[in-house]
């Protein structure tokens, strides 16, 4: 029962069943709601030691694969954000001991992605990154932060998602099927993040767009977020080395 609640909170099932079909919320609000549900799930998993059933893992994997399919089609940072949560849902079901660390890491990366999406929304009128491509040269600072958040989601160290993933796979007692699920999510995260990275960062600058980079205040906010991510990484690393 607990694992099903966990799945409903962190997985894509409620979204695909209710929100998407009825178009109840826009992408920004859906991302915020998903993040809130994920936080609830983390608290839930932390309070109750959730016993994972193979059934819940399979459903989570199915939902994750469907989310990968949907995320592959989106070029919107908000949508990408909540699809990433759904893709990672199987890991919250699988990782028992250090799921909180992985969840916090993911939430931090998603917060960054949310800030980027909001920046795009305000400056360019939409969180769609495809038409704004080529920002590496035009607006390098936002380019750096997008790279950091997406690399983190793609499970590359030294960012906390990778460290937490490693910690959980090392210290958890996963069976072969669960390793397969973890491996699938590992590659799914990588694929989606790298695709977004390639489309958002690279290519020629669009001459019809007036590019605007981050202001000093925005840079500081992002910097604090990155520092927080690195702090979580250090904590995770200490756990592994211990």
């Amino acid at each position: 029962m607990e694992s099903i609640i966990l799945l409903l909170l962190s997985g894509g099932v409620p979204y695909f069943a209710l929100i998407e079909r009825n178009k109840m919320l826009n992408a920004e609000k859906t991302l915020l709601l998903t993040a809130a549900l994920l936080s609830l799930a983390l608290v839930w998993a932390h309070l109750f030691s959730v016993k994972v059933s193979c059934y819940a893992t399979t459903v989570a994997l199915g939902s994750a694969l469907w989310a990968v399919y949907r995320a592959n089609k989106t070029t919107n940072f908000y949508r990408l954000g909540y699809y990433i949560v759904f893709v990672n849902a199987p890991l919250f079901v699988l990782f028992s001991e250090h799921a909180l660390l992985y969840g916090v890491s993911l939430l931090l990366s998603l917060s960054g992605l949310y800030l980027v999406a909001r920046f795009y929304d305000r400056k360019y009128g939409s969180a769609n990154y495809l038409a704004i491509g080529g920002i590496t040269l035009s607006t390098p600072y936002i380019g750096i932060f997008i790279t950091i958040y997406l690399i983190s989601i793609a499970l590359y160290p030294p960012f906390p998602n990778a460290i937490a993933f490693l910690l959980n796979t090392l210290q958890g007692s996963l069976d072969q099927f669960e390793y397969f699920v973890a491996g699938t999510v590992f590659f799914a995260n990588f694929y989606l993040a790298m695709k977004a990275l390639q489309n958002a960062l690279f290519g020629h600058s669009n001459p019809h767009i007036h590019y605007i980079d981050l202001s000093m205040k925005e840079k500081l906010i992002h910097l604090v977020l990155v520092m927080a991510m690195l702090s979580v990484s250090l904590f995770g690393l200490k756990e592994i080395l211990a």
């Binding site: 590496t136 040269l137 390098p140 790279t147 590359y156 030294p158 490693l166 590659f187 690279f202 290519g203």
Partner: protein
């Protein structure tokens, strides 16, 4: 002071962070070069300490180490880094993203130093993955080019595969041995090697590490990322061919004592390395694009390196990767200068080699040349082998001899084929140059191979040859070598010196199929394109 040497991996990160805050373009290379010179000095000092006092410097809770392997590799990487940064300071001046380039370059160097100096599997895993992402961002540096970005994507996919396989191996290894500390693990493996037991998990771990090394070192069938990434800036190409592809060999050396327990992994490494060396060398000669040709040349050399590991000649692989790295980096970094000269001078720039071999036209197609070169190549080799046998009993156990001799022969042949097209091929100068180079290669390999082996692995060096069950006896090695030499020289004689009937021009079907395979680079890219079109 000693512990300061262990900060080497952190210095490039400090440089990168400093560069972010520097706005004046002139200061970017100055800061980068000054601090990387400091790394080189520290590295040389560290090597001095290791050699002089015969000690390993460990620190940060045993996470990093400056041992014999680091003492050889860190100065190499540091000096390479210095040269590449110096070259890039002018080469990249007019490129958009000058600062970004230096920041990324320093990050990837930090990852390489960390990888070489790591004494802990988690640190190694982090460095391993940092290299992947650093490489991706450098290969796609030319962000406006669709092909550069596409090739960077392929590079990234293969490297992510390597990361995944590596992490899987680390997890299995931890579950099996309960430690991440490489020094402790090496001692455990060494003890186990004296009383080997067949354990499928250990074999699996060995295979996973081999696969990870193969992916990063562009070994067939994971080679596709290397020949097509030459669109990256020249300093990045130099770094890729001289530094990044070598990490497979470095990893296998770090885990050498684990591979003592898995002879089957060594045998597979030998077979795959051999195939890669031959396949890539043929493709190198066949592809019409000079950059791809260089890429395949590196793939072939990496095949050679893995082959040496498969034979138990771990230290020779280290020597090979350093020598190849210097050679290939020089080629890439020299290319800009050559283009510069060629633009000023419509003829080939006059260098010493040009003056020596190209000036006058003389007839060269005579069988006397062939006999002379064959004689002067084979006889000194046999004399050398004989003297070595007489002086050192160890030579019988030094099974890498076959590799050294075959490499000498192959390199000699390559040199011969290169000079054969030269107008002065009949000249005694060419023959002397050939024979001298050939002997120099043999002697250097023999001398440095053994020296490195004693330095890095000491008394345990011979264990690797015992573990490599493809271990050939000296007599077998000589027989194989003589067969290779005779067949090779006969082929060359038939190809270039005997009168052939030019009227028969239609090749048979087997030859034609071979040619098609080589011309299409083994059909790998055709297959990938077909798969992509099928998807669409």
């Amino acid at each position: 002071m000693e512990n300061f040497i262990l900060c080497i991996p952190g210095i490039p990160i400090v440089i990168a962070l400093l560069l972010i805050f520097i706005n004046k373009k002139e200061f970017i290379p100055k800061v980068s070069l000054t601090l990387s010179a400091l790394i080189a000095v520290l590295a040389l000092f560290g090597s001095y300490l290791v050699i002089r006092h015969d000690l390993s410097i460990t620190g940060f809770g045993g996470l990093v180490i400056y041992n014999e392997l680091s003492a050889i590799l860190v100065p190499y990487v540091a000096i390479l880094g210095l040269v590449i940064r110096k070259y890039a300071s002018k080469y990249m001046w007019d490129e958009a993203g000058y600062k970004r380039f230096f920041v990324l370059l320093n990050f990837i160097f930090a990852a390489i130093y960390l990888l070489v100096m790591s004494n802990h599997l988690i640190v190694l895993a982090i460095a391993w993955q940092l290299m992947s992402i650093g490489l991706y961002l450098l290969v796609s540096f030319n962000v406006g080019s669709k092909t550069a970005v596409k090739n960077a994507k392929w590079t990234m996919y293969i490297h992510k595969g390597a990361d995944f396989v590596f992490m899987l191996a680390v997890i299995l290894l931890y579950k099996e041995f309960g430690s991440f500390d490489l020094s402790t693990l090496s001692q455990t493996w060494l003890k186990m090697a004296s009383d080997p037991v067949s354990n499928p998990t250990i074999v699996m771990i060995g295979f996973l590490f081999l696969a990870a090394a193969m992916m990063k070192s562009a070994i067939v069938p994971f080679h596709i990322w290397l020949p097509y990434t030459s669109e990256a800036p020249t300093p990045v190409s130099a770094l890729m061919h001289a530094g990044v592809v070598n990490v497979g060999g470095i990893l296998l050396n770090k885990l050498a004592f684990l591979l003592l327990l898995t002879p089957v992994v060594l045998n597979v490494a030998f077979a795959i390395g051999l195939f890669t060396a031959i396949f890539a060398s043929i493709l190198m000669l066949a592809v019409p694009d000079i950059k791809r040709s260089l890429g395949y040349s590196t793939v072939g050399q990496m095949g050679y390196m893995i082959m040496e590991v498969g034979l138990g000649a771990f230290s020779l692989a280290i020597y090979h990767l350093i020598v190849h790295g210097i050679f290939k980096a020089t080629l890439f970094l020299e290319s800009g200068g050559l283009i510069h000269y060629a633009r000023r001078d419509p003829n080939i720039p006059e260098r010493v080699s040009y003056k020596l071999f190209w000036e006058s036209n003389t007839e060269y197609k005579s069988s006397n040349t062939y006999y002379l070169i064959a004689l002067f190549t084979v006889v000194p080799l046999l004399i050398f082998a004989g003297v070595k046998m007489f002086l050192s009993e160890e030579f019988f156990e030094f099974n890498a001899a076959i590799v050294i001799l075959a490499f000498g022969w192959l390199t000699g042949t390559q040199l011969f084929l290169s000079f054969f097209k030269v107008s002065k091929a009949d000249s005694i100068k060419v023959i002397v140059a050939l024979v001298t180079t050939f002997l120099l290669i043999i002697l250097t390999y023999e001398f440095i191979g053994l020296t490195l082996e004693h330095f890095i692995y000491g008394e345990h060096a011979l264990l690797f040859y015992q573990a490599a069950t493809l271990n050939v006896t000296f007599a077998m090695a000589v027989i194989i070598l003589i067969v290779i030499l005779v067949v090779g020289w006969l082929f060359m004689y038939k190809q270039h010196f005997s009168e052939t009937d030019k009227s028969v021009t239609v090749p048979d079907r087997a030859r034609w199929a071979f040619y098609r395979t080589v011309a299409h680079e083994g059909f790998v890219f055709g297959l990938l394109n077909r798969l992509r079109k099928g998807k669409k």
